[in-house]
Amino acid sequence: MSKEQILSSDGIPLEESLKKAERKNKLKALFLVAPLFLFILIIYIFPIGDMLFRSVDDRMITKMLPKTFKAMENWDGQDLPDEPVYKAIYEDLKYLKENKTYGKIIARLNYEKSGFSSLIKKTVRKLNKIEEGNYKEQFIKIHKRWGQPEYLVALKNTAPNWSYAKYLKGVDLKFDENRNIIKQDEDRRIYKTLWLRTVNVAFWVTIFCFILAYPISHLLATLPMKYSNLLMICVLLPFWTSLLVRTSSWMVLLQQQGPVNDLIVWLGLAADDNRPELMYNVVGTFVAMTQILLPFMVLPLYSVMKTISPSLMRAGKSLGGTPLTSFLKIYFPLTIPGIGAGCLLVFILAIGYYITPALVGGASGALISNNIAYHMKSSLDWAFASALGTMLLIGVLAIYWVYNKLVGIDNIKLG
């Protein structure tokens, strides 16, 4: 069988010219997506990469104490190091003092081991009095901690360019002097609680949202259009209203002299002089977040329920099923895609929530994002904020991946 090529009008084989057209269309589509893709890549994806980089980047101190770390290379970390090490420290500190940049290393060293702050400050202050020769003795005279090997070991431990110590801190672990991973001191173990609370709040908010959203989505999907459109406003108005407005209305409602507490007192559930604290604790976070995230559960459930034909339930009943069995065997399984979409969406949103817990959560209702914000804005430990952010991001991306597999990201519906 001879292969006969079909030619198009201009003499090029049809197959080839089709391929060419396809390629052209492909490029055209890519060309349209390119501007947004590049924009997001440069202003969003690269910065997130930069954040990951910052969380492990520990080069600052390496650059500031070059001679010290070089001199320490051969020191075994057992007994006190010899004269050259102290001489190197002297030279590095002298250089830093002249440039007035030693403040940075103080903060960094104090993260490594507390006590460095006064040690470095005192040493820098008395640096001018140090005479040439016999540095070791003079250093120990200035501050006795220069004679304690654990401080010098801690100093040596900051030498590597990269460090995952921030990640250990994020899960209540740390390095000891010999670079073994051990548990954080008892009074500093707060992150495990914080992570657990974050997951816990996100989980229960998702469950509450589901319990509240399922019946009303069903009602909205089965009512005649003119009623359901009206009721839909109850879902959409909060959805379109500013998050801060909704949070402030919860602050009004939940305050000690607020309407909810009035109601509780009026119902006799609590005495007037012993009103329960509904705000600035985890209760406030739960209530406010459930109401705020509820529309994100209702909308996907509604759009799935809308497609379920009512005749299916009638068929189930006519075949002798009770309403309960027809619901469980017919209706519920058909709504599972909507449940998956709604629950994953609410969980993803809840796990990274910041504004509402910060305003109504108080200390006991604060979540991991509040801690990230604290390290960004108050403690200024940006590397640690980046590490916590990266850990949260990995969790969210894992759920996002599942969501994409189960629901498909292009099936998100808005309003």
Partner: protein, 284 residues
């Protein structure tokens, strides 16, 4: 929803319990918003319903907090409103143009790696704002755009585009591509076809995406909190600051204005959605 006469009693109970539950949930959703309205007209300085208000005594109500909002001394709301509107305006334009163009490409049959691109372009909506805020802050600080309107607008464009991409892709999913081919066969160039044929047809999706982008920017506080300096303050920032200090009636007045605005946006969005469904021939 009336039940047929022969419904057994236990089903009746179930049915009314279900309706009551639904009513309570709707109440839970909408009632908090309506607490704010009367309180913004409070004549007193405290955020609670005074006896006079409950008795509907006209003396219990006043417009003083609205006056305070507009004319109050060292009043931040004027500057904040101006900034919010400027930022939201440019962010909306940026998101809408970039998002619509990208959605056109994503909806093409010939787009390679569609799912991967889509997942990437939607990601700013999924990634927690606190992470986006942190990352964008580092970037803007590095390129010298922290505490500038430009920096905030750029980051809001990022946060707004996913909504535009989603709504426009949804509109394009019911788009009949033969009309553009018809235009091409009649000698129209691609740009002309887009402006005269495609754009008018997908306009409802574009506008509702733009509304989402506008609201996202207008309401966004986390990223601005990281980026803004004193001159870049916005309405959400001022509300955030105010709420952290104490609940003031002026905030209630601002909140009432925002609720009115969101009602208007909701109505517009609903009308657009229906128009879009009609244009695409979906009748439900």
């Amino acid at each position: 929803m009336a039940l047929p006469n022969h419904t057994p009693l236990n089903y009746r109970i179930w049915h009314y319990a279900y309706l009551t539950f639904c009513f309570l949930v709707f109440f839970f959703l909408i009632a908090p918003l309506f607490v704010i309205l009367p309180l913004s007209f409070n004549a007193e300085q405290y955020i609670h319903f005074s006896a006079k208000m409950l008795a509907l005594d006209p003396e219990g109500f006043s417009l003083r907090w609205y006056e305070d909002m507009i004319y109050g001394t060292k009043n931040p709301w004027g500057l904040a409103t101006k900034n919010s509107l400027i930022i939201a305006f440019f962010a909306t334009i940026g998101s809408t143009i970039l998002g619509t163009v990208a959605a056109l490409g994503l909806s093409s049959r010939h787009m390679p790696y569609k799912a991967a691109f889509m997942a990437l372009l939607i990601s700013p909506m999924i990634v927690p704002l606190i992470i986006s805020g942190t990352a964008i802050f580092f970037f803007m600080a590095k390129v010298g755009l922290a505490a500038t309107h430009t920096g905030i607008v750029l980051s809001h464009i990022i946060l707004g585009t996913p909504f535009v991409v989603i709504t426009v892709t949804a509109t394009l999913s019911g788009f009949d591509h033969s009309v553009t081919r018809a235009a091409a066969s009649l000698g129209s160039n691609p740009v002309n076809t887009f402006m005269k044929i495609t754009l008018p047809l997908i306009m409802p999706g574009v506008i509702s995406g733009a509304l989402f982008a506008f609201v996202t920017s207008f309401d966004e506080v986390v990223v601005v909190l990281f980026l803004a300096g004193l001159e870049n303050t916005t309405i959400p920032i001022q509300m955030w600051v105010g709420l952290r200090e104490q609940l003031s009636p002026t905030i209630m007045a601002v909140a009432t204005c925002l609720i009115i605005m969101s009602t208007l946006i909701l109505v517009t969005a609903e009308l657009l959605r229906r128009r879009s469904e009609r244009l695409r021939g979906i009748n439900r």
